[in-house]
Structure formats: structure tokens, C-alpha cells
């Protein structure tokens, strides 16, 4: 059925301009289902979420009318909010900076030619393919105060005196818990970034390097003045996708500490989830704040992509 309609569209254009309704509708037949899915699953929830943020909802789910800005006021009055916001900034910044710097080095290493490169690259996939949740759980297991393998190793190295102690209970204290969760988050973020940078490295034509060698540039000089600038587009996109993932990161914190003790290891994402259990309106308000930050990252992402130059043409 779509055949004839699509062909009508093509014919209509070759004739004169009176575009038939069928020709107008042709794109909808091809693109419509995708559009419908985006509207139902991505856009409509945003509308509901914003609407909920202005509703007064009882803990058992009854809508008690409009709340005006009250949910936002309550959210602002949460004593934990400011520390959580600050922690979210630190969480995103340290993980993204750590991931991108380590990935730069790793992409360089895995771009070299050496025996067994393919196998070594495959190993990198593991944290990317396994769910983040499971990786977080394995680390929680390894950090177990009594018998975690990381603690066993530290003990054998002479760095840990006794098991079941404050020193071995990494996830029991907010600061050390945050440090370990950041390590896990960097660990699971590295594979994607490294592969993205590898793709960027491979897109650089080799004759640029040959020219640099002819000019007598050393390895470091070549890297700084050729590789890094040419890698910039890949780097920026990987950086922004990472920022988005890390900001929305939930399983690591949830599986390792559940945001506790108290809210002392929560970010805005896990805090929003905890609020959802009892204060849906306030949780929606937190979501709206989060979503505002997400939109900011998306705007930067759109400006950084080739969108304007290519796809719109």
C-alpha cells in the first residue's frame, strides 16, 4: 500500500506543484511509527513528569489537587539537598575527567600494532557488555569487610591490618565509599570512551603523520600538534555522552551503598529515586531539576555535533 503512495509522491513532484494529500502523508508512513514511539516513550513522560511536579500527591498515590510550587519549596528545604547537589557535581567531574584521561592513554596503546591486539581489545568489552549493575555488585563483594578479595589482597600486601574493622569496611564510611564508587564508575566508562577515541584515531589519515616525520617532528610533538587536534571531535562527543551517562548513573550507587548512610553517598539521581518511594510530587520536582541539567548537556552536545552542517542539508 505504501508503494503506490510513495510513487505518487515522486510523480507529483515531476508534474507541477499541486502536492496531493497522499504525497504529504508519504513521509508519515515511513517515519510515523518512529515518531509515535518517541512521543509515547520519551516526550510524553516528560510532560507527565513536569505536571506531577506541580501536583499534591499522597504517599499512597492519591492526587489531592494542585500544589503550585510547593514541591519545589519542600525539595529546597531538604537539609540534604545542597550536599547532594555538590556531590553530584564532584561525582560527574571526577569520573568524566578520570575516564577521559585514562582513555586517551589506553586508546593510544590499543592503537599500536602488537601481537594479539584483537584479543586484548576484546577483553576491554567485558565491563561494557556486562550490566553495570553486576559490575557494581562484584565490587561490593570484593570490598566486603570480612572476606572481600580486595581486602584479602590489601592484607597480603601488608596494607590492611585486620578484617571486619573500620579500615576494611570501605563502603561503610561515606568518603571511602565515594572513592570506590568513583573508581567503579570510571572502570565501566573507560571501554566506550577508549573505543570512541580509537575510532577517532583510526580516522586520522596516515599521510599526515608521514608529513610530520619528514618535517622531523618527534613523537610527543606529533601527538600534541597533530593527533590531539584531529581527535577533538571524537573526544568531545565521547566526553558529552559520558557526562550524560555518569549524571544519570544509578546502579553503581544503588548496588554499593543505596545512597547511604543517610543520603551521604547519594547523587541527585538516586535521591530522586528515594523520594519517589514516599513523596512522588517532590521526586518529580527533583526530576524536573535533573532534567533541566540534562537539557543543558544536550544543548552543548547538539552544538558540538555536526548537526547543523550535515543532517539539515
Amino acid at each position: 500500500m505504501s508503494v503506490s503512495i510513495a510513487e505518487d509522491g515522486a510523480v507529483a513532484r515531476t508534474r507541477r506543484r499541486p502536492i496531493t494529500i497522499a504525497a504529504r502523508l508519504a513521509p508519515l508512513i515511513w517515519v510515523g511509527p518512529a515518531l509515535a514511539l518517541i512521543i509515547v516513550v520519551v516526550l510524553w513522560p516528560v510532560v507527565i513528569m513536569v505536571h506531577t511536579a506541580f501536583q499534591h500527591i499522597s504517599p499512597d498515590g492519591f492526587i489531592l489537587g494542585s500544589a503550585g510550587w510547593k514541591n519545589f519549596v519542600y525539595l529546597w528545604q531538604e537539609p540534604d539537598l545542597v550536599p547532594i547537589l555538590l556531590r553530584t557535581v564532584i561525582w560527574v567531574a571526577t569520573i568524566v575527567i578520570g575516564t577521559m584521561s585514562i582513555s586517551l592513554v589506553m586508546a593510544q596503546l590499543f592503537n599500536q600494532k602488537f601481537p594479539g591486539r584483537r584479543a586484548a581489545r576484546w577483553a576491554l568489552i567485558a565491563p561494557w557488555a556486562a550490566s553495570v549493575m553486576m559490575t557494581a555488585i562484584v565490587f561490593r563483594w570484593g570490598l566486603n569487610a570480612n572476606n572481600g578479595v580486595i581486602n584479602i589482597m590489601l592484607h597480603d600486601l601488608g596494607l590492611l591490618k585486620s578484617f571486619n574493622s573500620d579500615a576494611s569496611d570501605w563502603l561503610g564510611t561515606p568518603t571511602s565509599a565515594m572513592v570506590w564508587m568513583i573508581i567503579v564508575a570510571i572502570f565501566v566508562s573507560i571501554p566506550f570512551s577508549t573505543y570512541a577515541l580509537l575510532a577517532g584515531l583510526q580516522a586520522i589519515p596516515t599521510d599526515v603523520y608521514e608529513a610530520a616525520r619528514v618535517d622531523g617532528a618527534g613523537a610527543w610533538r606529533t601527538y600534541v600538534s597533530i593527533t590531539l587536534p584531529l581527535l577533538r571531535p571524537a573526544f568531545i562527543v565521547a566526553l558529552l555522552i559520558n557526562m550524560m551517562n555518569v549524571f544519570n548513573s544509578f546502579p553503581i550507587i544503588w548496588e554499593m551503598t543505596r545512597g547511604g548512610p543517610g543520603h551521604q553517598t547519594s547523587t541527585t539521581t538516586t535521591f530522586m529515586y528515594q523520594l519517589k518511594q514516599s513523596y512522588i510530587g517532590e521526586s518529580a520536582a527533583m526530576s524536573v531539576v535533573n532534567f533541566g541539567l540534562v537539557i543543558l548537556i544536550v544543548i552543548v552536545y547538539l552544538r558540538a555535533t555536526v548537526w547543523n552542517k550535515e543532517a539539515a542539508s
Binding site: 513528569m49 553486576m134 555522552i241 540534562v294 547538539l302
Partner: protein, 295 residues
């Protein structure tokens, strides 16, 4: 680093296409150093998953022992776990991941094909919307998703999970397929038109077969993402009999006790197929994820 490779070496590298050359090739010393470093990194990235397997193979009475490997190994956890309803949750995961993959195929292929081949009003806006959804994550709008599917009466349903997973993974599929179709010369289709083929005929006989690697990549990627998805399933399901595997595994973590044996046996079982699938498309994923963004 690159600059240090002598010209003769580059000549060898260029002829790497011939298998016989690879076999006889003498690796220079610095490439062995790179190999050593890369293997160390590779081992570090595999270790947590090796530990996952070791923990799954520990007998129940040795689960809390303080050693690197247990004195006895057993596979009982892998058998025992099936008596906990694990099979049912595995089936739900398969339905969710399979259904999402199918839906993405049905929705993304026509959209990607049409946007690659036709210039129409709203094309730019549509592609922009897709690019934006590629950046969005369901985590940011959980409250909205929960209340939407609550009002549809679709909590605890496989259909809801299929819709959400397909919706959030469709963008990647559209972009990678758009890139694949654009790379296929339109002349091939025009030749088919001249031979009397319809647009759909040309699509199915010429373009789709040529775009198959891209389609497979997009589908495997969607399947894995839906298979591993956790937080939407955690939010939209409320009973143990309707939840997919990730939520089941999470439920082995109680407030006071963790069922480590089943947790790790289940994790190992659910990770193996994913690693195999991912290895198949390893090189193509990033190209697709960043298609349309990196140039």
C-alpha cells in the same frame, strides 16, 4: 611513538592483508612492550568477571572463606538457581529483549531508509529529535514513565518494558542505519526501478541486503541494552513473577542478607550470551553510536 617506526616497517604493515606475511612477520621490540602493557590492562578489565565466576563456583559453606579460590569447586549454584523461578525471569528477559529488538527493527528501518533517501519537509526536525533522544536516558524521567504506564494499566507488563527499551534504543538504530543506507549508491535502486521493480521491491532486494551488517549491529546492540536494562524494569515491575533477570538478581540482595551464591551464578548465566553477542559487533558499535556526531 608512531614516528619512530622505520619506513621499511610501514611497508610491511601495508602488506598485512596477505595472511602469509602476518605469519612470518617479526614483531619489533617496542611492539612486544605494547603487547605486555595491553595484556596487563586486559587482565585488569577481566578480573572482576573472573571473580564473579569464582564466587559462583564456591560451595555454599565456603562462600565467606577468606581465600582467593575455594578449596572445592561446585556447580551446584548453577543447578540450584533454576528452582527459584529463575527460568521464568530469564524468559521475561528474553521476551523484553527480543520484543524490543523486533520493534526497533520495524520502526527504525523504514525511518532510517526514508530519511537517507528522501528530502521531505520536517526531515531535519525528525533527525534532530532522534539525535536528542540518543542523549536522553529513561533514568531522568522515571517518575513520568511510572505514572504514564500506571495510567495505561501497564505496570508489570512485558509490553511496557518493550516499548520503553525500544524507544530509548531506537535513536542509535536510526542513526547507524541512516549512515549505512546513505553509503549505498542510489544508482543501484534506480537500476532496479528501470528494471520494473517497485520501491519496496528495490528496498527488500537491493538496499536491505547491502545494509545487513548495519541492521545486525543495531539489533544486537538493542538486544544487549534491553537485556541489561535495570532501573526501568525495577520501576515498572512490582512482583517477582513479572520482572526480568536484572531485577531478580537485584532482589537477591536483601536488607540484612545477600544471597551471593545465586546472585553470582545468575549473573554469570546472564552475562555469557551478552559477551558473545557483543564480541560479534565489537568494532561497529562506536562507529554507530557516534555516527552523525563525529565527522
Amino acid at each position: 611513538m608512531d614516528a619512530a617506526i622505520p619506513a621499511a616497517d610501514l611497508a610491511v604493515a601495508r602488506s598485512l592483508d596477505e595472511p602469509s606475511v602476518i605469519k612470518r612477520r617479526q614483531w619489533p621490540a617496542h611492539s612486544l612492550i605494547y603487547a605486555g602493557l595491553a595484556y596487563i590492562v586486559a587482565i585488569i578489565f577481566l578480573l572482576p568477571y573472573v571473580e564473579m565466576i569464582i564466587a559462583a563456583l564456591r560451595p555454599a559453606n565456603q562462600i565467606l572463606d577468606r581465600d582467593y579460590v575455594p578449596t572445592h569447586w561446585n556447580f551446584y549454584n548453577f543447578i540450584d538457581i533454576w528452582s527459584t523461578g529463575f527460568g521464568n525471569n530469564l524468559r521475561i528477559s528474553l521476551e523484553v529483549a527480543g520484543g524490543s529488538t523486533l520493534l526497533v527493527l520495524l520502526v527504525a528501518v523504514p525511518a532510517a531508509y526514508y530519511t537517507a533517501r528522501q528530502r521531505f519537509r520536517g526531515r531535519g526536525a525528525f533527525l534532530l529529535l532522534v539525535l536528542v533522544t540518543q542523549m536522553f536516558q529513561p533514568t531522568a524521567m522515571l517518575v513520568g514513565l511510572y505514572r504514564e504506564f500506571l495510567s495505561f494499566g501497564m505496570l508489570d507488563s512485558v509490553a511496557a518494558l518493550i516499548l520503553v527499551n525500544a524507544g530509548f534504543n531506537m535513536a542509535f538504530a536510526v542513526w547507524i542505519l541512516n549512515a549505512y543506507v546513505s553509503a549505498i549508491p542510489i544508482e543501484l535502486e534506480e537500476a532496479a526501478f528501470i528494471d520494473g521493480s517497485s520501491r519496496l521491491g528495490a528496498l527488500f532486494r537491493i538496499t536491505l541486503p547491502l545494509a545487513l551488517p548495519g541492521i545486525v549491529t543495531a539489533l544486537i546492540f538493542t538486544f544487549i541494552a534491553a537485556w541489561n536494562e535495570f532501573i526501568v524494569a525495577l520501576t515498572l515491575t512490582t512482583s517477582p513473577t513479572t520482572e526480568p533477570l536484572t531485577v531478580t538478581l537485584n532482589s537477591y540482595i536483601g536488607q540484612y542478607q545477600v544471597d551471593w551464591s545465586h546472585l553470582f551464578a545468575g549473573s554469570v548465566i546472564s552475562t555469557i550470551p551478552v559477551i558473545i553477542l557483543f564480541a560479534l559487533i565489537e568494532g561497529k558499535v562506536v562507529g554507530g553510536l557516534t555516527a552523525g556526531s563525529i565527522k
